[in-house]
C-alpha cells in the first residue's frame, strides 16, 4: 500500500521540479524577451503638447495667450455605433462621415474638428462612443480681441505665426515639440506624467500699452465713422526711446475670428507697409535743414504774397494768399510758396541729404514684419519741378512710422530713434533672452530741434493750421498734412481723394508721446487741421490723463501743490 504513496510522492516531487525548471526558463532564459514585451505594452511615448509663449503689454497685461482646447478625431476601425456617430457629425459639426472617410482613405486617425467648444466636447464625451476620441491641443487666444491686432498678428491652426509679432518672433514663441515616456494601464490610460516639465515657449513683453492702444483704437474708429474714410493709421511712440506705445490701423480684424477676414486689406499693417505722400508734414525736413544749415533764422522773411510760385515751369499754389511771412509763419501757416523758397535756397542736394538724414527712403528697422523703405528719388533724377514738390511732401513716398520718427527727432532734441515693439523676451524659467536697446543717431543740433519745436507749437496756436489739435493745459507741437492722392488712372493728382494727417508731440516742452494720425479719403472735408488734428487732440488728451502727465497750467489753476521741503515734488492732483 505505502508503495503507492511513494509513487505518488515521487510524482509530486517531479511536478515540483518541473515547475521550478519552467520558472527558470521563463524568468532567466527568456527574461529579456519578456521584459521587452512588457515595456512595449506598459509604456507609451506621448507627445508633450507644446505651449506657445504669451505676449504681454508693457504693464504685463496679457495680449496673446494659449488655451487648452480639445480636438475631435475618429478611428473608423473602432466605430461600433455608426449611426450615432453620423448623427453627431451631421448635427453638431456639419460634416458628412462618408466624405471624410473617403477623403482619408483607410487611415485610422482622422481629424474631424480641431479646437472645439468646451460645451460640445463635454456633450460628445458624455455619449461615450467608441471610435471617437479627443486630443488636447493648445489654441491661441487674444483676450483683448482686435486690440493691437496689427502688432501682435495671429497664428494658423498649427500654431505657426502668420502675421505680426507672432510671425517675426515665431521661433521664440513656439515651443519645441518633445515627447515623454509615460506608464499606462491596459486600457491605454496614462497613469503618471513622470517628472517632465511643461514645454512652453518664451514670453514676449512689448512696448505697447494696452490702455493707450485702447484709446487710439477707440478714436480711430470714431474718426473712420465720422469721415467715412477708407483707411486710417495712428501710431503713438515715446519720442526719446522709440518704444511704440500704440499702433492701430483701419480696417482691422479680430485675430480670434479669422474667418471674418474677407481680404488681406484688413490684415496689412498700414503703419509700415503702405506708402503715402506726406504733404505738409514733410515741410519740417526742409525747415529743419534750413535752420541747421544756418541759412535762415526764425524771423527771416519770405514774400508769399503772390500766392503761387513757379518751379520748373509749373505753378504751385498756396491754399490762401499769405502776404509776407516770417520763417516761423511759413511753417505755422503751412505755406507752400514759402517752403519752396526755403528749399530753393537750400538746393536739391542739401534737401536730399536731409531727407535721408531724417530716415526717409529707408526702413526704420522696427521689429515688425512687412516694413517698406519708402520712395525717395535721387536728386539727379529729379525734374525741374521736383525741388518744389519734394520740399512740400510730394513726389516722395513715406510710411506713417517714418514721419512719426522724424517728428520724434524734433521732440527729443535731434536724435533719430529706431522704433521697436519688443522690449523683452523671457524664457519660461524667467531668464531674460533678449532685452531691447535704444538705438538713436544724432541728426540735428539741439538748437535747431528746440527752434523747430517752438515753431511747431505755433501750429496749434492762433494763426496756425491746427488749432483743433490744441488741448487744454498742455502745449502741442505738431504739423498738419493734407495731400492730394495721385490717381494712376488720370495720371494726375486727384481732386477728391486726400490723405489727411496730423503728427506731433505733447507736451511740447517735455514730450511724453509722439503721435501721428493719418486718415485716407475722408469724405466731407480733407484738411489735416479739420480731419486729423481733432483725432490727435482727442487721443493725446486722454493719453496724457492716462499717463498722469501733469498739465502745464495746473499750477496756475492751483491744482499743483509744491512742497517746500528737501524732497519737494510736484504733485499733479487733477486737471
Amino acid at each position: 500500500m505505502h508503495s503507492r504513496l511513494k509513487i505518488l510522492k515521487s510524482l509530486i516531487v517531479l511536478c515540483f521540479l518541473l515547475i521550478i525548471f519552467r520558472l527558470f526558463l521563463i524568468m532567466f532564459v527568456e527574461h529579456e524577451v519578456y521584459l521587452e514585451r512588457a515595456k512595449i505594452q506598459q509604456v507609451k511615448k506621448e507627445d508633450i503638447i507644446p505651449k506657445r509663449g504669451n505676449i504681454y503689454d508693457r504693464r504685463g497685461r496679457e495680449l496673446a495667450i494659449s488655451l487648452e482646447k480639445e480636438s475631435l478625431y475618429i478611428d473608423p476601425v473602432m466605430i461600433k455605433n455608426q449611426e450615432a456617430i453620423n448623427n453627431i457629425l451631421n448635427n453638431y459639426l456639419k460634416v458628412n462621415y462618408q466624405q471624410i472617410v473617403n477623403y482619408a482613405n483607410n487611415k485610422r486617425f482622422l481629424w474631424v474638428k480641431r479646437k472645439m467648444d468646451d460645451e460640445l466636447v463635454q456633450k460628445i464625451k458624455n455619449m461615450k462612443l467608441e471610435g471617437v476620441g479627443f486630443i488636447t491641443e493648445h489654441t491661441r487666444y487674444y483676450p483683448k480681441g482686435n486690440i493691437a491686432s496689427h502688432v501682435i498678428g495671429f497664428v494658423n491652426i498649427d500654431e505657426e505665426g502668420v502675421e505680426g509679432l507672432e510671425r517675426l518672433y515665431d521661433r521664440y514663441l513656439k515651443a519645441q515639440k518633445s515627447s515623454k515616456i509615460v506608464l499606462r494601464d491596459a486600457s491605454g490610460k496614462k497613469l503618471s506624467d513622470g517628472i517632465y516639465p511643461d514645454i512652453k515657449g518664451n514670453d514676449i513683453f512689448i512696448t505697447i500699452d494696452e490702455g493707450l492702444q485702447y484709446i487710439v483704437e477707440k478714436h480711430l474708429d470714431e474718426a473712420m465713422a465720422k469721415w467715412r474714410a477708407s483707411s486710417a493709421t495712428a501710431i503713438m511712440m515715446d519720442p526719446f526711446t522709440g518704444e511704440i506705445l500704440a499702433l492701430a490701423n483701419r480696417p482691422t480684424y479680430n485675430p480670434n475670428d479669422l474667418k471674418t477676414i474677407k481680404n488681406m486689406d484688413a490684415v496689412r499693417n498700414r503703419a509700415l507697409t503702405d506708402l503715402y505722400e506726406p504733404g505738409s508734414t514733410f515741410k519740417i525736413v526742409t525747415a529743419s535743414a534750413a535752420l541747421e544749415e544756418g541759412i535762415v533764422k526764425p524771423s527771416t522773411k519770405f514774400d508769399c504774397s503772390a500766392g503761387f510760385i513757379e518751379v520748373g515751369g509749373k505753378k504751385i499754389k498756396d491754399v490762401h494768399k499769405n502776404g509776407v511771412l516770417s520763417f516761423e509763419e511759413v511753417v505755422q501757416k503751412s505755406s507752400n510758396v514759402g517752403t519752396i523758397k526755403i528749399a530753393l535756397m537750400l538746393g536739391k542736394e542739401k534737401l536730399y541729404h536731409y531727407i535721408k538724414k531724417f530716415g526717409f527712403g529707408e526702413k526704420t528697422g522696427i521689429d515688425l514684419p512687412g516694413e517698406i523703405a519708402g520712395y525717395v528719388r535721387n536728386p539727379n533724377k529729379w525734374s525741374g519741378t521736383s525741388i518744389g514738390a519734394v520740399s512740400i511732401g510730394q513726389e516722395v513716398g513715406v510710411t506713417p512710422l517714418q514721419v512719426l520718427r522724424a517728428y520724434s527727432a524734433i521732440a527729443n532734441g535731434g536724435y533719430l530713434v529706431k522704433p521697436f515693439v519688443v522690449s523683452e523676451i523671457r524664457s519660461p524659467d524667467g531668464n531674460i533672452l533678449f532685452k531691447a536697446v535704444i538705438k538713436r543717431e544724432k541728426i540735428l543740433s539741439e538748437n535747431t530741434a528746440l527752434k523747430m519745436r517752438e515753431i511747431l507749437k505755433k501750429v496749434t496756436e492762433e494763426g496756425g493750421t491746427a488749432r483743433t489739435a490744441k488741448i487744454d493745459g498742455n502745449n502741442v507741437a505738431g504739423k498738419t498734412g493734407t495731400a492730394q492722392k495721385y490717381d494712376p488712372k488720370i495720371k494726375r493728382y486727384s481732386k477728391d481723394k486726400f490723405v489727411s494727417s496730423f503728427v506731433g508731440f505733447i507736451p511740447a516742452e517735455s514730450p511724453r508721446i509722439a503721435l501721428i494720425v493719418v486718415i485716407h479719403d475722408p469724405v466731407g472735408a480733407h484738411y489735416g487741421g479739420v480731419v486729423a488734428a481733432p483725432v490727435f487732440k482727442a487721443i493725446s488728451d486722454e493719453a496724457l490723463s492716462y499717463l498722469n502727465v501733469p498739465r502745464d497750467d495746473a499750477k496756475e489753476k492751483g491744482l499743483i501743490i509744491t512742497l517746500n521741503n528737501e524732497n519737494s515734488k510736484k504733485v499733479a492732483v487733477a486737471r
Binding site: L8, I12, L18, I19, M27, A38
Partner: protein
C-alpha cells in the same frame, strides 16, 4: 498513540504563505481598487481588508478543527457531505451569485462563498472515511463505483455552473485517494478510458477547444484565447531574479486579468522575481512532504487517509495553479491556496490544515506499521518502511 504537540513546520509554513498572500493581494489590487469609484471610501485597502477578515474566520475554524478528534470527524462526514451538496444546489437558487458567465457563488454574509471549495474538503473527508472502513474491499466493483458515483454527482453540478477547474481537482483528488486505498488499477484505467469521450464531448465547441489548447502556443493569438497566459508569462518573465520590487509590478494595471486571484503567482514572480516565486513553490513542497510524513506516522487508517488526502488536496491545487500560470496546463479558474484573494478557498484550506495539525499530534514513532505489519525495530523508524516492503 501518544499525544504530542502540533507540527510547527506545517504551522509556520502556512503562516508564511499567508503573509506572502496578504502582501501580494494588497500589492496587486491597491492601484486599481483605489481608482474604482465604488471603493472610493476605503480606497486601495479594500481587498486587503476583506482578505484579512476572512483570514480571522479561517484561523478561528482552524483552531476549532485542531481540537476535534478524528473520531468526531467521522461523525461529521455525512452532515458535511450533505451540507456541501445542498450549498452547491443552492447556487442555482436566487441565493446564487453569478459572475463572468459562471454561477459559482452563494450569497453568504459578509460576502459570496464558493461551495466548490467545501465540496473538495467534504469529499476528502468522505473518501478517507469510506476507504478506511474495515469492510472496504479494494477489488470490489461496488466499493469502487460508490465513491466514483459521489464524485460524478458533484462533477455534474460543477459542469452546470460551469466550473471545469473544480471538476478537474475533484477528479484528481478522488482518483488519487482511491489509488492510495489500493483500488484495482484495471477499474481506474477503464474509468479513464471512459472519461476521454466525455472530455471531447465537453470540448465540442471550438472556442472551448481553443481555450484548452491555447496554452501550447499562446502567442498564436495573444489578444484572444492566449491573452491571459501571454500576460501571465510577461509578468513572470519580466521579474527576472529579484523582480521589479514590491509594488513595482505593472501587470496589475489591468493587463493580467484575475491577477489577485488565479494568477497571483505571476504577480509574485513579477514583483519578487525568481527568488519570490521559488520561495512560494518551496513552501508548498515543504508543506507536501511534511504533510505526507505526518500521514505516514498515523496509526489509524482513517487518520492516514485523511492526512494524506488533505496534503494532496492542497498540493495538487498549488501544482495545478503553478502549471496554469507558467503555461504548462490549460487555463483553469483555480486559486493558489493561502495566497490567492478569495475567502472560500482560504477558510476551507485553513480548516483542512487544522485537521492536519491535529493529526500531527497523533503521530506515532512507528506510525504506519500498525496498520499493515508489525515493526521490527522502533529505533530505525525512517528506514522501516522500505524494509517492510522487502519483507512482504
Amino acid at each position: 498513540m501518544n499525544k504530542g504537540s502540533i507540527d510547527k513546520t506545517i504551522l509556520f509554513t502556512v503562516i508564511f504563505l499567508i503573509i506572502i498572500g496578504l502582501i501580494s493581494v494588497y500589492s496587486s489590487t491597491s492601484v486599481l481598487a483605489s481608482v474604482k469609484a465604488k471603493y472610493a471610501e476605503k480606497g486601495g485597502m479594500i481587498y486587503f481588508q476583506k482578505q484579512l477578515f476572512t483570514l480571522f474566520i479561517g484561523f478561528f475554524l482552524m483552531f476549532i478543527f485542531i481540537f476535534i478528534s478524528p473520531a468526531n470527524l467521522k461523525k461529521i462526514v455525512f452532515p458535511l457531505l450533505i451540507l456541501s451538496f445542498v450549498m452547491l444546489i443552492l447556487v442555482f437558487s436566487p441565493l446564487g451569485v453569478s459572475a463572468g458567465g459562471a454561477r459559482r457563488w452563494l450569497k453568504l454574509w459578509p460576502s459570496a462563498f464558493q461551495p466548490s471549495e467545501i465540496v473538495k474538503f467534504a469529499m476528502v473527508l468522505f473518501l478517507a472515511w469510506y476507504i478506511s472502513r474495515p469492510d472496504y474491499n479494494k477489488d470490489s466493483i461496488k466499493n469502487f463505483l460508490i465513491p466514483i458515483g459521489v464524485m460524478g454527482i458533484f462533477q455534474l453540478i460543477f459542469l452546470k455552473q460551469p466550473d471545469f477547474g473544480a471538476v478537474l481537482t475533484l477528479g484528481i483528488i478522488t482518483f488519487t485517494m482511491l489509488f492510495l486505498a489500493g483500488a484495482n488499477l484495471r477499474y481506474m484505467g477503464i474509468t479513464f478510458l471512459m472519461a476521454i469521450p466525455v472530455i471531447f464531448y465537453l470540448a465540442r465547441e471550438p472556442y472551448r477547444w481553443r481555450r484548452i489548447t491555447s496554452f501550447l502556443d499562446p502567442w498564436a493569438d495573444p489578444q484572444g484565447s492566449g491573452f491571459q497566459l501571454v500576460q501571465s508569462l510577461i509578468a513572470l518573465g519580466s521579474g527576472g531574479l529579484t523582480g521589479q520590487g514590491l509594488g513595482g509590478g505593472k501587470q496589475k494595471l489591468a493587463f493580467l486579468p484575475e491577477i489577485h486571484t488565479d494568477f497571483i503567482f505571476a504577480h509574485i514572480g513579477e514583483e519578487l522575481g525568481f527568488l519570490g516565486a521559488f520561495t512560494v513553490v518551496f513552501l508548498f513542497f515543504l508543506l507536501c512532504i511534511r504533510g505526507l510524513s505526518i500521514a505516514l506516522r498515523q496509526t489509524e487508517p482513517f487518520n492516514y487517509f485523511l492526512a494524506s488526502g488533505i496534503t494532496l488536496m492542497i498540493s495538487f491545487q498549488a501544482l495545478i495553479n503553478f502549471a496554469v500560470v507558467t503555461g504548462l496546463a490549460p487555463t483553469k479558474g483555480l486559486p493558489l491556496p493561502f495566497i490567492s484573494y478569495g475567502g472560500s478557498s482560504l477558510v476551507v484550506n485553513l480548516m483542512a490544515v487544522g485537521i492536519l495539525l491535529n493529526l500531527s499530534r497523533f503521530s506515532s514513532e512507528v506510525g504506519y506499521s500498525k496498520i499493515f505489519i508489525q515493526p521490527t525495530s522502533k529505533t530505525r523508524k525512517y528506514r522501516y518502511y522500505y524494509r517492510v516492503r522487502r519483507l512482504s
